[in-house]
C-alpha cells in the first residue's frame, strides 16, 4: 500500500500492527481534541487561526493539483476561492433574499468554480509556463475587479461594500453560529466550524491521494515532466489540463463557500493577488506535488505570520523598548523566512516522491555549468 500514511509509518515494524493502531488512535484523538487543547494552551484566537489553516490546507491541496501534479503555474488561484465564496454569499444572505441550504450550496460552489476553471484553462492550453502565469494572474485580477464592480447598473455583488449577514452553516434550527454545550464542553462557533473544516480537509486529502495514484494523476505528472512525450504516449493533454484546472478549482470553490459561512461577510478585499501568491508559496515551500508537504506548507505559512505577532512584546522584554515597529519586524522576518527556506530547501520541505531529482531550470543550469 502506498500513500502518505503508509510512508510515514512504514518505519515502524510492519509486524507491530498494534503499535500502528495505537498511533492512529492517538492521532485521531489529538485531531478531535485539538480545538480544546489549543484553546487551553494558546487562547481562542489560535483556534480561529487553526480553522483558517484548515481552509488554506484545502486551497493548497487544490493548487497542488494544478501546479504540483500537472505543472501548470497558476498565479490567480484565489479567484476560485472568491467564486465559491460569492456563490454561497449570493444565495444565502439578504442580498437577494435567498437562503438556500448549505448542502446544496457547497456542491454548487464547487461546480461553478469548476466551470470557471475550464474557462480559465481553455485559452491557455497552448501557453508555455510563464506566459500561463501572467494569464492566470490576469484572470485572478479580472474576477476581483468584476466582484468589485458588479454593483452597477444592476447590483449583483454589492461592489466594494461586500455582502453581510451571510447564513452560517445550519440545519433547521441547529446553527453553527451558536454556542452549544455538550458533555460540559462549550462548542463555540470556532470549535464547531473546526470539525466541519477538518472533515473537508481530510476529504480533500483523500481525494488528492486517490488522484495522485490514479491514471489521471499519472497523466498529469507525465504532462508536467514532458508534455510532448506525454502527448506522444497518447495522453489527451488538452483534456487533462482542463481537468486539472477544474479539479483544482473545485477545492477552492468548496473552501470559498465554507469561508463565506464562517465569516458571515465577503468582500473583494479577501481575494487579492497577494493571497494567490501566498497559496502558491505554501505549495512550493511544502514541496510541490507532495500532499504531505503541501499540508505542512499551508499550516506553516498560516501560523508563521501569526506567531510572529508576538515579536512586539518580546522586543519589550529583551530590549526594554520597542526599537522596530513590531508590524514591520513581523513582515521582515516573514520575508526573510521565505528566502531562507528556499535557500535551504529549494525542493520544498518534503519534495514529491515520484519526481525526478529536482529538474533544474535548463537555462540557469547550463549557465552554472558554463560558469564552472
Amino acid at each position: 500500500m502506498t500513500g502518505f500514511p503508509a510512508e510515514l509509518f512504514s518505519s515502524l515494524s510492519t509486524r507491530n500492527v498494534l503499535l500502528r493502531r495505537i498511533t492512529w488512535f492517538v492521532v485521531l484523538a489529538l485531531l478531535l481534541a485539538a480545538p480544546f487543547l489549543i484553546e487551553a494552551v494558546l487562547g481562542r484566537s489560535w483556534v480561529r487561526i487553526t480553522d483558517v489553516a484548515m481552509l488554506f490546507i484545502m486551497l493548497a491541496l487544490g493548487l497542488n493539483i494544478v501546479v504540483g501534479f500537472a505543472g501548470l503555474l497558476d498565479l490567480g488561484y484565489i479567484a476560485f476561492f472568491a467564486v465559491g465564496a460569492y456563490c454561497y454569499a449570493l444565495l444565502a444572505s439578504p442580498q437577494f433574499g435567498l437562503h438556500w441550504p448549505f448542502l446544496a450550496l457547497l456542491p454548487l460552489g464547487a461546480g461553478v468554480a469548476a466551470i470557471f476553471g475550464i474557462l480559465l484553462g481553455a485559452p491557455t492550453l497552448r501557453l508555455r509556463g510563464d506566459y500561463l502565469a501572467i494569464v492566470t494572474l490576469g484572470f485572478g485580477e479580472i474576477i476581483r475587479v468584476l466582484l468589485n464592480n458588479l454593483n452597477r447598473p444592476v447590483n449583483i455583488t454589492n461592489g466594494p461594500q461586500g455582502i453581510t449577514l451571510i447564513d452560517p452553516l445550519q440545519l433547521g434550527s441547529f446553527s453553527l453560529a451558536k454556542t452549544h454545550s455538550v458533555l460540559g464542553l462549550s462548542f463555540t462557533p470556532v470549535h464547531s466550524y473546526y470539525y466541519v473544516f477538518l472533515a473537508c480537509a481530510v476529504l480533500s486529502l483523500l481525494i488528492s491521494l486517490r488522484l495522485e495514484s490514479s491514471r489521471i494523476g499519472r497523466a498529469w505528472i507525465a504532462i508536467r515532466e514532458d508534455e510532448l512525450a506525454a502527448s506522444a504516449m497518447g495522453i489527451n493533454t488538452r483534456n487533462m489540463k482542463l481537468l486539472a484546472f477544474a479539479m483544482g478549482a473545485t477545492f477552492g470553490g468548496v473552501a470559498g463557500g465554507l469561508f463565506a459561512s464562517f465569516q458571515g461577510f465577503v468582500s473583494p478585499e479577501s481575494f487579492h493577488l497577494i493571497d494567490s501568491i501566498m497559496v502558491l508559496c505554501m505549495v512550493v515551500l511544502g514541496g510541490m506535488g507532495n500532499v504531505a508537504g503541501v499540508i505542512i506548507g499551508a499550516i506553516l505559512l498560516t501560523v508563521l505570520p501569526e506567531a510572529l505577532r508576538y515579536i512586539g512584546p518580546l522586543q519589550q522584554r529583551w530590549l526594554g523598548e520597542v526599537v522596530v515597529d513590531p508590524a514591520d519586524l513581523r513582515m521582515l522576518l516573514f520575508g526573510l523566512a521565505l528566502v531562507l527556506m528556499m535557500l535551504l530547501r529549494p525542493s520544498g520541505l518534503i519534495p514529491a516522491r515520484r519526481r525526478a531529482i529536482p529538474r533544474p531550470n535548463p537555462k540557469t543550469a547550463e549557465a552554472t555549468d558554463a560558469a564552472g
Binding site: P160, L165, Q263, G264, E269, A327, D328, A337, L344
Partner: protein
Amino acid sequence: MKLQDIRTTESTHGVLMQNKFSNSLVTALIAAALLAACGKEAPQPAPKAAAPAAPQALTVKIGSASPLTGPQAHIGVDIRNGVQLAIDDANAANIEIGGKKVKFEIVAEDDEANPTKATTVAQKLADAKVAAVVGHFNSGASIPASKIYSDAGIPQISPSSTNPKYTQQGFKTTFRVVAHDDQQGPTLARFASGTLKVKSVAVIDDNTAYGQGLADAFENTIKSLGAKIVAREHTTDKDTDFKAILTRIKGKNPDLIMFGGIDPQAAPMVKQIKELGIKAKYIGGDGMQTPNFIKLAGDASEGAMASIPGLPKEQMPGGKAFLEKYKAKFNQDVELFAPMGYDAVMVFIDAMKRAGSADPAKFLPELGKTSYQGVIGPIAFDDKGDLKDGPITIYVVKSGQWEPLETVKPDAAAQK
C-alpha cells in the same frame, strides 16, 4: 546531465532523509517558530503584574485594530498613533474611575485591512480581555470583527468605517465616530449646488467602500438638485495616473469635479487636472482634507475644496492643539483618522467615568448616552451607534493652507 534527470529517488525513507543537515535545521526553525508562539503567551500576564505599585490602581487595556502593514498602513499607523496619544494624555491626567486610579494601556494589533486577519485580531483582543476597541479602519475589517466583539460584550468604536451595514447588524456594541456617506455626501452636494451654483458635474470614485459610497451619495443628491452629471468615472485606490479619465472629463466640460477618495490619489489627481488645463473646480470629502494633500499636490492644490465633519479646528478648543501635539510626538503630520481615534478613546473613558466602572458590561449602556465635545466636534450616538448629525465644515486651500469656507449645520430633513 541528462542521465541525472532520469534517475529518481523512489525510496521510502530517502525523501525525508535527503539532506540531514538542512533537514534538521529546517525542523529546528519550524519548532522554534511554533515554540515561540507558545512561549509568547507568557508576556501577556506580565504587564498586569508590572502595573503601578499603588494598591488601588486599575489597569485598563484599550485595543487598537488597524492596518499597520500593507498599502493602507499609513492610515492604520495614524489611527494607532491617535489612540496612543489619547492614552498618554489620559495617563497624564491621573484619571480615577469608581474611586480607583487608572492606568491605561494600548494593545495594538495589525489587521492588514484584511477581513480574515481582522477576525483573528478581534479574537486576540477579546482573549486579552480589553475593555474596549478602537477599530477597524475599513468596513471590510470592521464588519466581520464586530460579531466577535459583540459576542464578547466589548464595545467597539470605528474611527473610519463608513459602510452603513456596520451598524445595522443588530449588535449593541458597534459605534462609529465618523460621519457616514449619507451625512457627508448630501451636504457636499447642497454646498456645490447652493453656494458654488454648479450646473454640470463630473464624479470620480476610487472604487472602495468609502470613496464609492461618498460619491454615490453626492451624485444622487446633486442630481435631485438639478445639476447634470456629465461623467461618472472610476479609478482604484492604487492608481496615480488619472490622465485618461480626466481627459474624457475634459471633453465634457464640467463646472466641478468631485472625487470620492483619499489624499494619495486626490493630490496627483488635482495636479493632473491643472496639467491638462481643465478649468473645473475640485471638491472632495474628508479623505482629502489633510495637511498631506497640500504637501503632495503643491501649488496645484490651490483652490481645492473638501468637507470634514465637525467645526473648524480654530473654533474647537482641542483642535489646533491636537495637531501640534501629534506632530511633536510622532514627528509627522496627522494623516487622516488620528483625531477620530483619539476621540474614540476619550469617549470610552468618558463613559467609564459616568458608569463608575471600566467593566464593559457596566459602561456599554453609558456609551449610548454620550454627549462629548471631541477634537472632531460634538459626539453623540443615535440608537444604532452612528454619529448623530453634527455640523460639517467645507474648507478651501488658500495660500497653501486649509481655510474654513462654510459650516453647514445638520439639515433637519437629512436627519435619519
